[in-house]
Amino acid sequence: MFLARVVGRVWATAKDPSLESRKLLVLQPITPDGRERGRTVVAVDAVGAGAGEVVYWCRGRESSFPFLPGEVTTDATVVGIVDQISLAQS
């Protein structure tokens, strides 16, 4: 799984029926100290995340498992909202 910040939301009227009433979030991957890294990605929300929040997200087939027994068509899903990161002293 990976750290990211929610930077936006995707709206789509014509879409696969499994995505009805699912929130589509735009994620900017970040480093532990909050710097942006890499390209943005679109993920389905499973925890009620919103703009500006730091989250962690899961990729691949297992990213559809929060919605079982529904078969949601996704390969990236937000599965946690980060309250705090305890980093090692360096």
């Binding site: 799984m1 990976f2 750290l3 991957p29 480093t31 532990p32 890294r37 890499g38 499973a46 925890v47 009620g48 995340a49 962690y56 899961c58 990729r59 691949g60 087939r61 297992e62 990213s63 559809s64 498992f65 929060p66 079982l68 899903t77 599965v79 946690g80 909202i81 980060v82 309250d83 705090q84 990161i85 305890s86 980093l87 090692a88």
Partner: protein, 94 residues
């Protein structure tokens, strides 16, 4: 699997129920020479690893979710061992 260093622990009140009761660790993947390789990742803990430990990590869904005994869950990485040592043949690099 990859070798990584535990660099932090994540506190998340709102998360998928399958992650409850498991530590959520922040890991820095390592090269064989101990240098950082790529960007940190997030994984569930199965071996009570702590900050500073060098660990073995599965990075694929089925192995990760079955290891932490949470089948059919959104888990794509898990810490499955704390590494004591790695023996390398002479001349092996990263």
């Amino acid at each position: 699997m990859i070798i990584a260093r535990v660099i932090g622990q994540i506190v998340a009140t709102r998360k998928h129920p399958s992650h409850e009761g498991r530590k959520v660790l922040l890991l820095q993947p390592l090269a064989l020479d101990g240098a950082n390789r790529g960007e940190p990742v997030v994984a569930l803990d199965w071996v009570d690893a702590g900050v500073g430990d060098r660990v073995l990590v599965v990075t694929e869904g089925w192995s990760a979710m079955t290891t932490v005994e949470r089948p059919n869950s959104p888990i794509d990485m898990a810490v499955i061992a704390v590494v004591d040592s790695v023996d390398l043949a002479e001349g092996s690099g990263s």
